[in-house]
Symmetry: C2
C-alpha cells in the first residue's frame, strides 16, 4: 500500500483576522486522516513559496500552536499579492507548481484566498490532469470584501463588518456627546475597492431612528456632491451632528475615484486613499462644519480582538470541509457557505464549481441599498446581521491579545533547481 | 435639620471610553449618602448646562441605566469644549454658575475633565467663598492624553493605551504576513497634541526584538526627516517591513507641526491632521516603499469595546472618592491616583491641591524615551504596562456593544433668567 499523499496549503491576497482559523482547520482536520493525508506543507508567502520551493513543515508545530492560530489574525505562513497569469502567458509557472508538488508528493492543493486565487486553483486542477499528475485542488474562500459569488458570505468579512459597525457606533456616541461645541461631522473611511459590503456593515449600528451612521457612501452609488452635502446638513440640523461611513472606492459621475492616490498594485488595482480627507475638505469649505475623520485601513481586517463568532466558526468550517472534500475524492471546487435561514441564522457547507467562482466579483444587490442611496435596506440588514453575531475574544497576556508566531520550519528542497518569481 | 444639598456633575473636554464610569461612580456613591447629598444634577453639554441652567435630573434614571454607564463610552450627559475665562475677563460667567447652583441648592460641584476644567473647578471654589456661597468643588481627572500632573495617570488613558498597543500589534501581524509582495511600511497616526503618552503606549506591543511597532514618533522629540528615513530603511532591511506609531503632534526643528491643518479649536489649540499622509509621502518619494496608514482619531478614545480593566477600575475609584471626599467635607481638590508599586501594580486614591493641577501639562519624562528617540525605555514600559492590564468586555446585543442612552430628563428652571453663552 502506498503512503498517503501530502497536502499543500497557502494563503493568498489580503489577509484577514480569521484566515488563520481556516489554516488551523485544514491542519487539524488533516491530522485526523493520517491514512489519507501525509504532511501538510504550507507555502511561505503564499503561492510564491510553492514556486520557489520554499515550503513550511506544519507537522512540527505543536497542537497548541496550531490551536492558537484560531485566535491569531493575519497570515501565519505569509500571504502574497501575486497573480499567476494565464496558461498562454506563463505556462512555466504552472508547470513549476506541478514540478514542486510532484517532488514533495503533494496530492492535495488547498488555496485560501479570493477571486484571483480561485482562478489559480482552477488552473492548477486543469493542468495537473493535462500533465498526468492529478491533484485535488480545493479553494477555501477568504475575503474581507465579501465579493465572492456562490457563497453566502466570505470568511473574514463578518469580522470586518463587526469592526465597522462597532467603530461607527462608538465614534457616534463620541460625536453626539461633543457636538454642541465641537466636531459636527465624523467620517470613517473603510476599505473595499469595488463592492460596498464593508461600508454597508456600518449600517448595522443604526438600529433606531437617528442612530449612527447617518450616511453610508457605497462604491455602487454614483457620488453626487450636492446631494451628499444636503444630506450632511440635514443630519446636523436634525441630530446636531452627522456620522458617515465612506467606502474608499466611491466614484463620481465621470466614473473617477473621488480620491485616487494614483499608484497601482501587483494585481493592477488602483491604490486608493484619501476619500475621507476629500470629503472633509468639501464639508469644511461648503458647509463650514468642523470635522474629524478616521481611516480604518488594515486595522479593520486585522482586528481579531473584535472578531465575529459566526465568522470564526465559518472560517473553521470551510477549512475543515476542504479537507473532508479532499478525503472524499473531490477537487476543482470551492467550499461554499449556504444560508438556510436568516433568523435564527442557520447555514451549511457546500461546494461550488471553481470555473463559476474565478474572477467573478459579487457586488451589493440594488435591493440592499436604500432608495436615496445613503443607507442599507431591511433586506440588507437581514442578510448582514447574523454575520456579525457573537463574540470570540482572544486570550490576553499582559493586557494584549496573545497571538501566536509559528516556528515555520522549512522543508528540505528536492527539485534541485531554482525558480525565479517575476 | 436642613435637607441635604444637591450635587452638580459635569463632563468636560474630549470624552473618553470610561468617563461615564466616573459618572456612574458619582451617582451610585451619592445615592449611598442620602442624608448628605440630595439629587445629582448633571450639566447638559458640560458646564454650558450649568450656565444656561440646562440641568439633567439623574435621580429619575434607573439603577440599571446608571450601571450600564460603566460599559458605555463618551459623555452620557454631553460634554463641551468651552473654557471659562479668568475672573478679570468674564466674572459674569462665574457669578452665573453660583446663581444657578444657589437656585438649585447645589452644595457639591464635581467636574470631570482635564487641565482646563481643573482651573474652572478651582475658580468656582474660590468664587463661592468670596460670594458667601461656599461650594465643595472637586475635580475628577479624565484625559485620554494622560497629561495631568500629580496623579499616577488619568482615567481614559489606559484604554487609549490599550487600543494603540492592540491596534499596532494587529496591524504589524498583517504587515509581516504580506510584506514580501505588498505593503512595506505602515503608519498608525494617534491623537495626542503635546504629550507623547498615547504614542508611547504603542511601544507596549513590542515585547521582543523585532516586534511591532518598530518606530514611535513623539511630540517631545524633534522630528528629523533624514534620521527617520534611515530608521525606516533599517527596519525594512532587517524585518522586511516597518511599523510606525506617529503622534499627530510631532514637530520639526523649527517647532512647526509636521502636519498642520491650520484651524484652531475653542481652546485656541491648533487642529491637527495629516501627519500619516505627510510621512507616507516622504517614505514613498525618498525610499520608494509601498505604504498604508490608518488614522485612529476618535476611534481610539471611544473604543470601550477594548477598554483596560485597570482603567475602568480607576475611573470608578476617582468618581467614588470624589463623592466620599465631598461627604467628608473636602473641596478645592482633585482626586489623584497614587501608585504604590509597579509589579504587581498597586495604587490608592488620594488628593492633590487644585492650584497645582490647573493648566499644568505633564509631558513624557526624558527617561521614558529611548536614546535614539524612536522607542520607549524599560522605565516607560514599567510605568505603562499595568495601565492596560485586564479586559472589561462590554455586554453585546445583536453582535454589537449594548451601550446605554439615558433619558436625560431636564430639571425645571428656577433662576428666571436667560444666560447666553458666548
Amino acid at each position: 500500500m502506498s503512503s498517503p499523499k501530502n497536502a499543500f496549503y497557502a494563503q493568498s491576497g489580503g489577509v484577514t483576522s480569521v484566515i488563520n482559523v481556516s489554516a488551523a482547520a485544514v491542519i487539524e482536520t488533516a491530522r485526523r486522516y493520517p491514512e489519507k493525508i501525509g504532511k501538510v506543507y504550507a507555502g511561505r508567502d503564499g503561492i510564491i513559496g510553492a514556486l520557489t520551493e520554499d515550503l513550511i513543515d506544519t507537522s512540527v508545530e505543536s497542537p497548541a500552536a496550531i490551536a492558537a492560530l484560531k485566535h491569531t489574525p493575519a497570515g501565519a505562513f505569509g500571504s502574497c499579492r501575486y497573480k499567476l497569469k494565464g496558461f498562454d502567458k506563463n505556462l512555466a509557472e504552472y508547470e513549476r507548481l506541478i514540478e514542486v508538488f510532484k517532488a514533495h508528493d503533494i496530492g492535495y492543493f488547498f488555496y485560501n484566498g479570493g477571486g484571483d486565487s480561485a482562478d489559480t486553483c482552477l488552473k492548477v486542477s486543469q493542468l495537473g490532469e493535462k500533465m498526468d499528475y492529478p491533484i485535488q485542488a480545493i479553494h477555501i474562500p477568504k475575503t474581507m470584501d465579501n465579493d465572492l459569488p456562490l457563497t453566502d458570505c466570505c470568511p473574514g468579512f463578518g469580522s470586518v463588518a463587526k469592526y465597522t459597525a462597532v467603530s461607527i457606533r462608538e465614534a457616534g456616541f463620541d460625536l453626539k456627546s461633543m457636538c454642541k461645541t465641537s466636531t459636527k461631522v465624523f467620517i470613517l473611511e473603510v476599505m473595499g475597492r469595488h463592492a460596498g459590503w464593508t461600508a454597508a456593515a456600518g449600517g448595522l449600528a443604526a438600529e433606531n431612528e437617528g442612530d449612527d451612521p447617518h450616511i453610508i457612501l457605497f462604491p455602487e452609488v454614483v457620488f453626487d456632491e450636492a446631494k451628499f452635502l444636503a444630506r450632511v446638513k440635514h443630519s446636523v440640523d436634525t441630530y446636531g451632528y452627522c456620522t458617515i461611513v465612506a467606502s474608499e472606492g466611491i466614484k463620481n459621475a465621470e466614473g473617477k475615484f473621488v480620491a485616487d492616490a494614483g499608484s497601482v498594485d501587483a494585481f493592477g488595482h488602483t491604490q486608493l486613499g484619501g476619500v475621507a480627507s476629500t470629503l472633509a475638505t468639501m464639508i469644511k469649505t461648503k458647509l463650514g462644519l468642523k470635522y474629524h475623520y478616521a481611516i480604518a485601513d488594515y486595522l479593520m481586517r486585522a482586528a481579531r480582538h473584535v472578531a465575529s463568532k459566526t465568522d470564526v466558526e465559518q472560517a473553521y468550517a470551510v477549512g475543515e470541509a476542504a479537507v473532508e472534500f479532499a478525503v472524499a475524492g473531490k477537487g476543482g471546487v470551492m467550499v461554499a457557505i449556504e444560508r438556510q435561514a436568516d433568523e435564527p441564522y442557520t447555514w451549511t457547507v457546500g461546494e461550488a464549481p471553481l470555473d463559476q467562482v474565478a474572477n467573478v466579483e459579487k457586488k451589493m444587490p440594488a435591493e440592499f441599498i436604500s432608495e436615496d442611496g445613503f443607507h442599507i435596506t431591511e433586506a440588507c440588514r437581514r442578510y448582514l446581521a447574523p454575520l456579525i453575531a457573537g463574540e470570540d475574544h482572544p486570550p490576553y497576556r499582559n493586557g494584549l491579545p496573545a497571538y501566536v508566531q509559528l516556528e515555520n520550519t522549512p522543508v528540505e528542497k528536492k527539485t534541485g533547481r531554482e525558480f525565479t518569481v517575476a
